[in-house]
Amino acid sequence: MSNKKFLFVYILMLVSVFVVFLFSLAIGLDGISFVDAVKALFGGAVDENVVVMIKQIRFPRIFMACIVGAGLAVSGCVFQAILKNPLADPFTLGISGGASLGAVAAFISGLAAIRSFFIPFCAFAGMIVSVSVVYLLSMRKRFNSNAMILSGVVVSYIFSSAVMLMFALSPENSVQTAFLWLMGNFSSFDERLLPFITAVVPICIIILSLSGNIINVVSLGGEKSKTFGINIERNIKFLFLTASFVTAATVSICGVVGFVGLMIPHIMRKIMGTNNVILIPASAFAGAFFLPLCDTLSRMLFSPVLIPVGVITSIIGGLFFICLLLKPDRK
């Protein structure tokens, strides 16, 4: 594909993200019209209740979904590249295990009931532990990709067993809320964290996008990659920690949203090719498009019952990917 084509696809995706954003704003049970929703957002003359609904409830939620989607898709893309493994995702390296353990501990110990702030806090703390363990284990093997994946998988198992143990030992009602959190949803995140995420995640995404050329040479792997004057090991460390941080920041807020980080990079790779310079921003756009869409569907499909957005992402994304696989390859 030529540069012009890529630019076209980028613009198309940017427009799609915007359209999905407005669409998600307007859709809801309370019958706010699309025009009113747009007016409310940009300060037009509409009913005050509508303004509150749009600006204070829906806007943060959709905005968060965009950022989380972009963050997860980009970190998935980076993990797949540095681990040289297409099955890697933001959670391969045990990050979700740590998050789950932290959050479940917060729910079960009752900390979550005291202050909802404890949920993201504990989840983030849990992830720092799991990422550090994986980092230290990988360091002994000089960040060899197989060693990294293996230590990630092992850490995941240990942490998820610990979660199961906690579930088994605790009363049912707290298990239910903790379980819903684990599957990921945007209905109850702490809005005070929004500015933090808005600052941190896009900065990391920009850094990772700019590192596309370096990620390319890291994903090339082997001895050859070490002869281009680049410290491969140091770059793997940097990329691993940055991508983990993005994952940790997003997941600690909205739970373990599966699928986005695994499949969005695959789908974009099918469309845009393997060059990470192009692939990483494309994945960011696609994630920012896909997750708000799924979130809106999760609000609407079985309303008033809220279903975890992770369920929707997996079903829709999975079906879409199957369609993409069935289509013959263009040459």
Binding site: L220, T227, I230
Partner: protein
């Protein structure tokens, strides 16, 4: 000039090179021969700063290779490994661009100079027509030329090849070696390569070193190194060494045990 002094190296606790010393002059076409596992690749890896020796030193123009920064070293020595895993579908020009990384800024974003450099090399090697092809769609010979293009855009004076012809047919093999010879003679590159094919080594190399169990068995010109006594002993087989009537270079013919009279 490269000077190798008392070099010992290996992997983990297995010593492979044992106190090797040799000199490689500027503009040498320097061939390394020896049995499988003799230490040819290990020697090349040490030369390319990919593994650290147990003891001994390597100097390039009087400077210890440990004192080079990664970037500096990548501008001095380039390396073409035996095989390269290219499961990723880069285009040929994207792939060649990796060779320009030592010249780029921190985010490795190519400049006009970098594009000009790869264009020049692709013209020189006549591979412009598959610049946008996927690297995995190429044949073995084409892939090897693309890899050579990649080391050429790196613009180093010393180029190290680990068995550049090992899985090529005789035509492609000669093409590749002719390109290397051209680089050596017309562009003053110092070429260092390991070879299994003794005939190719005899035909193309200006100097040879025969390695046996991690030590230097013999070094010198092709005529000095390719003598039947050393070859028979090192490779534990029977051979006849003759002189190529056209190039006056030595060549080696294997002799079957049952064919011996």
């Amino acid at each position: 000039m490269i000077r190798i002094e008392n070099l010992s190296a290996g992997y983990l606790n297995k010593e492979i090179l044992k106190k090797i010393s040799c000199d490689i002059d500027k503009k040498d076409f320097f061939g390394i021969i020896g049995k499988n596992g003799a230490g040819k690749s290990t020697l090349l890896r040490v030369l390319c700063n990919l593994i650290k020796p147990y003891s001994g030193n390597v100097f390039i123009d009087g400077r210890n290779i440990n004192s080079f920064s990664r970037k500096e070293f990548a501008k001095t020595v380039s390396f073409l490994p035996q095989c390269i895993d290219t499961s990723l579908s880069f285009t040929v020009s994207e792939f060649i661009m990796f060779g320009r990384y030592p010249y780029m800024n921190i985010f490795k974003i190519p400049s006009d100079d970098d594009y000009a450099a790869i264009k020049k090399v692709m013209n020189f090697l006549c591979i412009k027509n598959f610049a946008e092809k996927n690297i995995n769609e190429l044949s073995g010979g084409e892939k090897q030329i693309v890899l050579i293009a990649q080391v050429l855009v790196q613009e180093t004076d010393i180029i190290v090849f680990d068995e550049p012809t090992s899985h090529l047919d005789i035509g492609n093999q000669n093409d590749i070696l002719e390109i290397l010879k051209d680089l050596n003679e017309k562009r003053d590159k110092t070429i260092i390569l390991s070879l299994h094919d003794l005939n190719a080594a005899g035909e193309f190399c200006s100097k040879l070193i025969l390695i046996e169990n991690g030590s230097v068995c013999r070094q010198g010109t092709a005529e000095e190194v390719l003598n039947y006594r050393d070859i028979e002993r090192v490779y534990n087989t029977t051979v006849v060494v003759k002189t190529n009537p056209i190039s006056n270079r030595p060549y080696v013919i294997p002799v079957s045990k049952t064919g011996k009279r």
